[in-house]
């Protein structure tokens, strides 16, 4: 009899959990995770030196090969900086001539990554800043390289970020060269793909994809990645292209949550 009661209670609580609305269940989840966060902090502190060591060895090996390419690139970027300074000055002069108001730049909250998603089904990270620090739901999160994702769960001192490589994520993207808009979604291989590009517009590997600003989560102009493979369909209205994300999702340590994005 006692066993039947236990089974009934557990089954009912499972049904109750499954029928919770998304907002209630997400706030419940992140609140419980915050209670466990001291233990999480200890584990993170224990593993961080090990991770840094492994990462640094990898970086040193990679740097040796990359060095000549980077030197060459530094020279061309130096030339590009000079040219852009000129363009910037010209732009400033034209703006003042047209009395054009400068767009407000976004400020951000710097946060440390303290955990990853436990399941293979989802791609998310936990960061050590929450509502008490000014983090709000749906805020865009970026790294030094590019767009990382958006905030989906917020606790007072902890938040969860849904990465752009998650299968449920969708970011409004634009191909910088052709100005064609599409939607960037996560793929099976931990990368992302830009979908719904018009068939007739040529897209080639190496083209840069940035945020379009549509959808009002991500400000326009943030780097998402570069096109690696273009999928040309024989029929249909649209084509898609696979991207190499700019953000290094396997080496994320610090991110910035954009305020007022």
């Amino acid at each position: 009899m006692r066993r039947i009661v236990i089974v009934a209670v557990v089954a009912l609580s499972l049904i109750a959990i499954l029928s919770l609305s998304a907002s209630v269940s997400s706030s419940l989840k992140i609140s419980i995770v915050e209670l466990i966060s001291p233990l999480q902090g200890i584990v993170h502190r224990v593993f961080l030196p090990l991770g840094s060591l492994v990462n640094n060895i990898g970086r040193i090996i990679q740097a040796a090969g990359d060095n000549p390419i980077l030197e060459e690139r530094a020279v061309s970027l130096g030339r590009e900086v000079v040219r852009l300074r000129e363009v910037g000055k010209e732009n400033q002069a034209l703006r003042s001539l047209l009395k054009y108001e400068r767009e407000e730049s976004c400020s951000g909250i710097v946060a440390r990554v303290i955990g990853r998603d436990l399941s293979h089904w989802n791609q998310s990270i936990l960061i050590n800043k929450g509502g008490a620090d000014g983090v709000v739901k749906e805020a865009a999160v970026i790294s030094a390289q590019g767009v990382v994702g958006k905030i989906i769960e917020v606790a007072p001192h902890l938040s969860r970020v849904l990465l752009i490589i998650d299968r449920t994520s969708g970011v409004g993207g634009i191909i910088q060269g052709s100005r064609q808009t599409g939607i960037v979604e996560g793929t099976t291989g931990g990368g992302c793909v830009i979908k719904y590009l018009p068939r007739r517009i040529p897209v080639s590997p190496g083209e840069v994809v940035i945020t379009s600003g549509l959808g009002q989560v991500y400000p326009p102009g943030l780097l998402i990645g570069t096109v690696s493979i273009v999928y040309e369909e024989e029929f249909g209205l649209y084509k898609s292209a696979e991207l190499i994300p700019a953000a290094q999702f396997n080496q994320l340590e610090l991110v910035m949550v954009l305020e007022g994005s």
């Binding site: 499954l18 998304a22 233990l39 090990l50 089904w121 989802n122 099976t188 396997n250």
Partner: protein, 184 residues
């Protein structure tokens, strides 16, 4: 005159008593979840996420029968639900089913043998991914069939099987290998 007796370092005393063992396993579930989600963040292999929670569930289900397997499966699934961005309750349901089935189907096997356990871990990992996919079909927008194979089922299975011998050995060390909590 006093004599000091020292035990060899490898000679651990297993945890005795059903309640204490259960408490230890529940703590281990929490620790496994925190280790995987915390350590994976700092170690270079981002996608290397062996399912330590599943291994614990299989271990407990083999020793304690359907009710034990079901209960620990639920607790472990709830842990995974907490630390992932998916819908709350789906992992709980999927892992509880796995715990129950492992206990049912492993009855005639040599459950304490390492190879049996590792094979059970592999089968459970595959079943768990398929159960979860079925639940997604019912409750949430499901991913494609190729996503299940390429992104979840295969990586999860090989990573979990790779870690299973070591993780099972560590649990054995703490709880004692040949002690069965409940005879059937």
């Amino acid at each position: 005159m006093s004599i000091t007796v020292r035990r060899p370092v490898h000679h651990f005393t297993p945890i005795r008593g059903r309640k204490w063992r259960l408490r230890f396993i529940l703590f281990l579930l929490l620790l496994a979840s925190v280790i995987i989600q915390g350590a994976a963040g700092s170690v270079v292999f981002f996608s290397f996420r062996p399912d330590l929670v599943l291994i614990i569930v299989v271990y407990w289900a083999l020793k304690n029968g359907p009710s034990g397997g079901w209960f620990i499966g639920m607790a472990g699934g709830f842990m995974i639900d907490l630390f992932s961005s998916g819908m709350l309750g789906l992992h709980t349901l999927a892992l509880a089913t796995v715990g129950l089935l492992v206990a049912f189907f492993s009855n005639p096997l040599y459950q304490t043998h390492l190879s049996t356990r590792v094979v059970m871990v592999g089968i459970s990992s595959v079943s768990y991914s398929i159960f979860y996919y079925v639940l997604l079909l019912i409750f949430a927008p499901p991913p494609s069939w190729s996503y299940l194979w390429k992104a979840v089922l295969i990586p999860s299975a090989w990573q979990t099987i790779l870690v299973a011998p070591l993780w099972l050995w560590l649990i054995d060390l703490a709880l004692g290998k040949d002690v069965k909590d409940k005879g059937r």
